[in-house]
Each structure stands twice: as structure tokens, then as C-alpha cells.
């Protein structure tokens, strides 16, 4: 376990913050594409410690938030199938579907199991062979290897009552898609956990389009360091991939995890909330694992997906607006009564903003 005490030493942090604030910084919009960064930035009050003119914007980094309504509705509909037990990460439970959330479906009688790991879902399938356990495979390159491993494990144990609704998304293609959008982005704070798997080199195509990329960790010292490195690149006219988080990330990433994903998944076009369909930006199960694919295994009718009226989660996820610019923010939409996914998820930009900055803090 790394020494959190050292990284959180208030003296060190104040020095880092003072050094950053003293920089002759260019005006810049830096985007983070990782929900854990979104929370860290809000929780540690990092925005307030930046030089004037430097803006941090949240991108599509929250796994629950980027999952499109269609996939959520389909998963909720699966819960109505006799004998099906749904298994999901906890953050998905309260996301409003078109008609209801998993939380409401559970109170109405659907079986919903909250798990910390896809292996818990495999274990549940083994324990109760009369149930069909369906796991909601959401998230990025961080969760996908664990899901691949769970599928291989289920296959190895000969389980026929375990399947996955595969909705995994890939971060670099989404970053590329954002470069063609209307949003001004001068550099990317690249995710820590995702990069442990895919490696720093995965962002080269983004850097080659003229956008500096710095991979960083989640401690305030990490994020401050990444901002400084990005500002230096911008000031010097460079656009490279740099790794601040070198204690965990290698240029080539984790080959073993990559092979694992390659064995079970193939890259496919994927739908994103807010960004729409992006070519080659997600995973689907390979043909030989079709028996574990909930989308092929079950035919259910989901309601026609309708985004909640007035909700601007899509614009928030693209970084077009800040959470407080959404007319529902803090009024009709709060963590207690969320309208959109970005307010539900603990990693959502709206919830982070609401929880740590409220409505008035910086106005």
C-alpha cells in the first residue's frame, strides 16, 4: 500500500499549490476523462487552487453516466424475466431508466444483487443453479479485464446460468471523438486506473492531434502535478503523452490484462450517452462466448428509450456545459431526487459539483 500520508502532507500540498498559482499560465481548458478524477478534483478543492484562466472540465469519464438509456432500459427489462437475478455495481442501482430505476424495480420484486466484483456474480450463479444471473458489464478498460476473467471462470466451471450484458466502453476513441466536437479542449488529464491497463502510449493518437496528454493518479498532489505538466506543455508548444503517475503506469500498460480482454471481447461500435454512436469505441463478446451474452440469450422488450425531459447530462458529458448551467441542476435534480445519470452516480460530474460545491460556492 502506498503511503497516503506522504502524498497528503499539507506542507507539500501548499508548496505545490503555491508553485502552480505562481506560474505564468496560459489560459487553458483541461479535460479530465475519469470519474475518480472528477471526484478528486471536487473533493480536494483543486479548481480553487488553480491559476486564473485555467479551467478544468469534466468529460465522459463516469462509467454509469456514459451508459446510454437503451442499455439501462434493456437491463432493467431483463429483471422482469422469470428466474433472472440481476447483478450490478452499486452506482447503477439508482439511475433512472425510461420507466423506472433498478432500485424501484427491486422494491417491486425484481431480484437485484449489488456486487463489488463480477466474480461475486459468478459465485451467485454457482450457488443457485436454478437462477439465471445476469451481470451488467459497464465501465471502461478498468473493469473490462475483471469481467473477461469472470466469463472465463464461468466457462471453466461449466456454468450455463451466468451471462453478461456487455456495455463496456473504450476511453481513447471517445477522446478522439471529442476533438471533433464543438468543445474547446487544450489538454487532457488522462485516467490513472484505465492507463494502468492500456498504458500511456494509448493516448499517442490524441497527442498527435495537438493535444497534450498527462496520465495521473488521484491524490491532490498527482492532479496538481498533472495540471502543471499540461500547462508547461502548452506554454512550450509541445503536445506529448507524459506520465505523472509513473508509480503505476507503464507506456505499454498491462499486457496480460490486454490479452485477457482480447480473448473474450472484440472491439465494436458503441453508443454513449451524450456522444452518440462512436466507431470502435466499445466491446462485444466474441462469437465463441455467445452463450454468456445476455443480449443474445434473452429476448425482452424494453420501453422505447426516452431521455428525461430537460436533462442535459449529454452536454455535461461532452464538457459543453458545466453542471450548474443545466436548468435542472440543484432544483429539480439533486442527489436525493436525481433526474439524470450524472447526478446519480457518485462519480458523476453533477453529483460531484453538487456535493462539494453546492449551488452558490463559486458564484
Amino acid at each position: 500500500m502506498r503511503d497516503l500520508g506522504e502524498l497528503r502532507d499539507p506542507e507539500l500540498l501548499r508548496r505545490l499549490a503555491a508553485r502552480l498559482k505562481g506560474m505564468a499560465a496560459p489560459s487553458a481548458a483541461l479535460m479530465e476523462v475519469c470519474g475518480t478524477h472528477t471526484v478528486a478534483i471536487a473533493r480536494h478543492g483543486i479548481r480553487e487552487a488553480l491559476p486564473k484562466g485555467v479551467r478544468l472540465i469534466s468529460g465522459p469519464g463516469c462509467p454509469v453516466c456514459v451508459t446510454p438509456q437503451e442499455e439501462i432500459d434493456f437491463f432493467i427489462a431483463l429483471g422482469g424475466v422469470e428466474g433472472v437475478r440481476l447483478a450490478t455495481f452499486g452506482d447503477m442501482v439508482r439511475v433512472p431508466g425510461t420507466e423506472k430505476s433498478l432500485e424501484q424495480a427491486r422494491a417491486e420484486g425484481a431480484e437485484v444483487l449489488v456486487v463489488y466484483s463480477p466474480m461475486d456474480a459468478v459465485a451467485a450463479a454457482e450457488r443457485e443453479p436454478e437462477k439465471e444471473v445476469v451481470f451488467f458489464g459497464i465501465g471502461f478498460e478498468t473493469t473490462a479485464p475483471a469481467v473477461a476473467l469472470a466469463i472465463l471462470e464461468a466457462k471453466g466451471r461449466g456454468l450455463r446460468n451466468f451471462s453478461v450484458l456487455c456495455a463496456h466502453k473504450l476511453i481513447p476513441p471517445a477522446m478522439m471523438a471529442l476533438l471533433d466536437s464543438e468543445v474547446r479542449i487544450d489538454g487532457f488529464i488522462c485516467p490513472g486506473h484505465v492507463s494502468v491497463i492500456i498504458g500511456g502510449d494509448a493516448y499517442r493518437p490524441v497527442a498527435e492531434r495537438g493535444k497534450p496528454c498527462v496520465v495521473t493518479g488521484f491524490e491532490p498532489a498527482d492532479v496538481l502535478g498533472a495540471v502543471r505538466m499540461l500547462l508547461e506543455q502548452i506554454a512550450e508548444g509541445r503536445s506529448e503523452v507524459e506520465v505523472e503517475y509513473s508509480r503505476a503506469v507503464r507506456p505499454e500498460g498491462n499486457r496480460k490484462a490486454q490479452e485477457l480482454m482480447g480473448e473474450v471481447f472484440e472491439v465494436a461500435d458503441a453508443g454513449w450517452r451524450g456522444l452518440g454512436e462512436i466507431p470502435a469505441s466499445g466491446y462485444e463478446l466474441r462469437e465463441e462466448f455467445g452463450g454468456f451474452d445476455a443480449a443474445r440469450k434473452f429476448a425482452v422488450e424494453a420501453p422505447e428509450a426516452v431521455e428525461p425531459p430537460g436533462c442535459r447530462c449529454g452536454d455535461v458529458l461532452r464538457g459543453v456545459i458545466e453542471p450548474r448551467e443545466c436548468p435542472l441542476f440543484g432544483e429539480a435534480c439533486t442527489p436525493r431526487k436525481p433526474v439524470g445519470a450524472c447526478m446519480v452516480s457518485s462519480e458523476g460530474a453533477c453529483q460531484a459539483w453538487y456535493r462539494y460545491r453546492g449551488q452558490e460556492m463559486d458564484q
Binding site: G90, G139, F218, E347, Y356, G358
Partner: protein, 343 residues
């Protein structure tokens, strides 16, 4: 639109639960007194002349459904006694008597039940109180999960003691009696089968003795609150609202064990929202703060007590946290589903 039902999130000690209590219970069973403190004061001295002058009774009740029933540092029995004793202590009261009711699932091991009740006895003895009445029901297998316990307690508030959630005033100092989050992370780690280098042990302990000593030694103690479900953040928000003040906390001053901080990182949780079962928040007038802190530290259950913040006037009802960077942010109350991160 489907019919409204009770959700798991209605039980997490956060905002949804507060709304449920207001809407369903207080509106139908309320006395007209604003609730907010965990114990109700009974004005017995007016009704029963035999009661000692000046002393007042308080009455509280709590239900326990913890899973797993045995965890590092305690079990559901110890928890059931400590929870109620600490609610009484938070009212400034000495515990006088407890009741305990058990709902047992068919098939529960008698040896487990014995272990649980033994540890209730030990905790009660430590708190200097007896369980004087109780009830037992057994339900068919599957109708409950092994054992649920409800305890109620009566306590006596000594003359001159005036503590209440609405007592905080600008300028007061906020103390905590030790590191935050031990219980929540001990239970969660055991439930999820997580292992850390050093085992996280629940802080579950009866605080009546520590509080009694505090109230005798220190002047100006205005608020006592045990930060259980929802943790320090939620408890401070309740105090800020009840007292109509702002509270500002210094992040780096809040004690958190290294093992708890590491477990929180791994699970995507915040120790400031994690449950404690053997800690007390003390809001005390500035002139009494030093003595209060020394008194807490002199007690074995308060050895790691710390001053963590101040009560302020601006931004009424808000709790603010000064981060390690020196920036200010909101410390909101717990909102449904403090769930582990998935990214």
C-alpha cells in the same frame, strides 16, 4: 408511474431517511416538539413529585440489523447495547436501565445467541447499566436474517447539564473523540471479505463513562452527538441545521487511521461518511475547549481525541471543509448509496 415503495436507501441514515421519518412517522406520531436529537426528554419532575429536583429523564430506542452479526471488534449484541447507551450519552445522560427485544430466525445457532447475549452483558457492565426487561420472538426460516435486536434505554440527565443538537453557537470549538470510520470499514471489509495489512477493528464501545467525566470536568459543552450511520459529515450537518449555524472543519485535523484511509481509497468511500459506534462529537464553548480535549484524551476511549473545527455564523446550516490545499468546499450530508467506485 409505479406505486411508491420503501427502498433500501430509505435506511441509510441520509437525506431520504430523514424525509421518510418526517413524512411518515413524525406527522402521525409526533409530539409537536421538533425531533432531531436521538433521545426524547421527559419532564418527569413535573409529573412525579418523587423524582429528584432538577434531574430529567431521557428515553431512546434503536434497532440493530448488522450483517455480519460478528465482526472484528464486536458483534450485534455489543452494538445493540453501545448504540443505545451512546444515544443516552449524547443527551448528556447517565444510563439507568435498558430493555432488549430479539427477533430470531428459526435455525440460529444457540451458541451464537449465547455469544451475542454474553457480549451484551459485558457491554452493559462496562456502561454501568442493566438490561431489565425484554422480549423474544422466533420467525420461520427466511422471514428474518438470523437475529435482529431492538434496545431501548432510559437515562438521567444530571442537574445543570444542558446539551442539545440546537446548542451550537458561533465561536464554539468542534472536537471528535477519536479516529473516524473504524466501525463502517470494519463491517464492510468483513462483509466483502477484504483483507488489509492490519485488520480494521470496530470502535464499538459504550461512551457513558467518558461523557460523564467530560461533563463533570469541562464547562460550556453544548452539543454531544455520536456520528453513527452517515458518519461525521452527516452528524455535523444535522448540528448545523438544528443550531442554525455554519461549521467549518479542517480536513487534515480529522483523525483517520491509515488502514481506514487505505480501505476507503480501495472501495471509493469517504471516511467522513463512514459509521462510528464508539465516538462522540463534542461542540464546546471556546473557553471550555482545552479542558474538554484534555479530559477526553485522559479517558481510554478518547485517547486520540482532536479539535477538528469551529462553529461560524456565515452560511447558516452549512458545513464547510478546508481541504489540505487550503481551499474551501462543502461537506454535505450523506445522500443515498455511498457505493464503491467502479472506475
Amino acid at each position: 408511474m409505479s406505486e411508491e415503495r420503501v427502498l433500501l436507501a430509505h435506511g441509510d441514515g441520509g437525506e431520504l431517511m430523514g424525509e421518510l421519518i418526517e413524512r411518515i412517522f413524525v406527522s402521525r406520531l409526533g409530539t409537536g416538539e421538533p425531533p432531531g436529537d436521538d433521545s426524547a426528554r421527559i419532564g418527569l419532575w413535573q409529573e412525579a413529585s418523587s423524582c429528584r429536583t432538577g434531574a430529567r429523564l431521557v428515553f431512546t430506542t434503536d434497532a440493530f440489523v448488522v450483517d455480519p452479526i460478528f465482526f472484528p471488534g464486536g458483534d450485534i449484541g455489543k452494538l445493540a447495547v453501545c448504540g443505545t447507551v451512546n444515544d443516552l450519552a449524547a443527551a448528556g445522560a447517565r444510563p439507568v436501565a435498558l430493555s432488549a427485544s430479539f427477533i430470531l430466525e428459526e435455525g440460529l445457532l444457540i451458541s451464537d445467541l449465547e455469544r451475542i447475549v454474553d457480549s451484551m452483558g459485558a457491554a452493559a457492565e462496562e456502561a454501568g447499566v442493566r438490561v431489565i426487561c425484554g422480549d423474544t420472538k422466533v420467525v420461520p426460516r427466511g422471514s428474518a436474517d438470523r437475529v435482529y435486536i431492538t434496545t431501548s434505554g432510559v437515562g438521567e440527565v444530571p442537574e445543570g447539564v444542558e446539551v442539545s443538537g440546537s446548542g451550537a453557537r458561533a465561536g464554539d470549538v468542534v472536537l471528535v473523540s477519536g479516529p473516524m470510520g473504524d466501525h463502517g470499514l470494519a463491517v464492510l471489509s468483513r462483509r466483502e471479505g477484504l483483507e488489509f495489512e492490519s485488520e480494521i477493528v470496530s470502535d464499538c464501545a459504550p461512551l457513558a463513562g467518558m461523557v460523564e467525566g467530560l461533563l463533570e470536568a469541562a464547562t460550556g459543552v453544548r452539543v454531544l452527538r455520536d456520528p453513527t450511520r452517515g458518519g461525521l459529515a452527516t452528524a455535523l450537518n444535522e448540528i448545523a441545521r438544528q443550531s442554525q449555524v455554519a461549521i467549518e472543519i479542517e480536513e487534515s485535523a480529522v483523525p483517520v487511521r491509515e488502514s481506514v484511509a487505505a480501505a476507503c481509497e480501495m472501495l471509493g468511500l469517504d471516511p467522513l461518511y463512514a459509521a462510528n459506534e464508539g465516538k462522540m462529537i463534542v461542540v464546546v464553548a471556546e473557553e471550555g475547549a482545552e479542558v474538554a480535549l484534555e479530559t477526553l484524551r485522559a479517558h481510554p476511549l478518547g485517547a486520540e481525541a482532536a479539535a477538528v473545527g469551529r462553529v461560524d455564523e456565515a452560511r447558516e446550516g452549512r458545513v464547510l471543509l478546508k481541504t489540505a490545499l487550503g481551499t474551501l468546499r462543502i461537506l454535505d450530508r450523506h445522500v443515498g448509496g455511498e457505493m464503491p467506485r467502479i472506475c
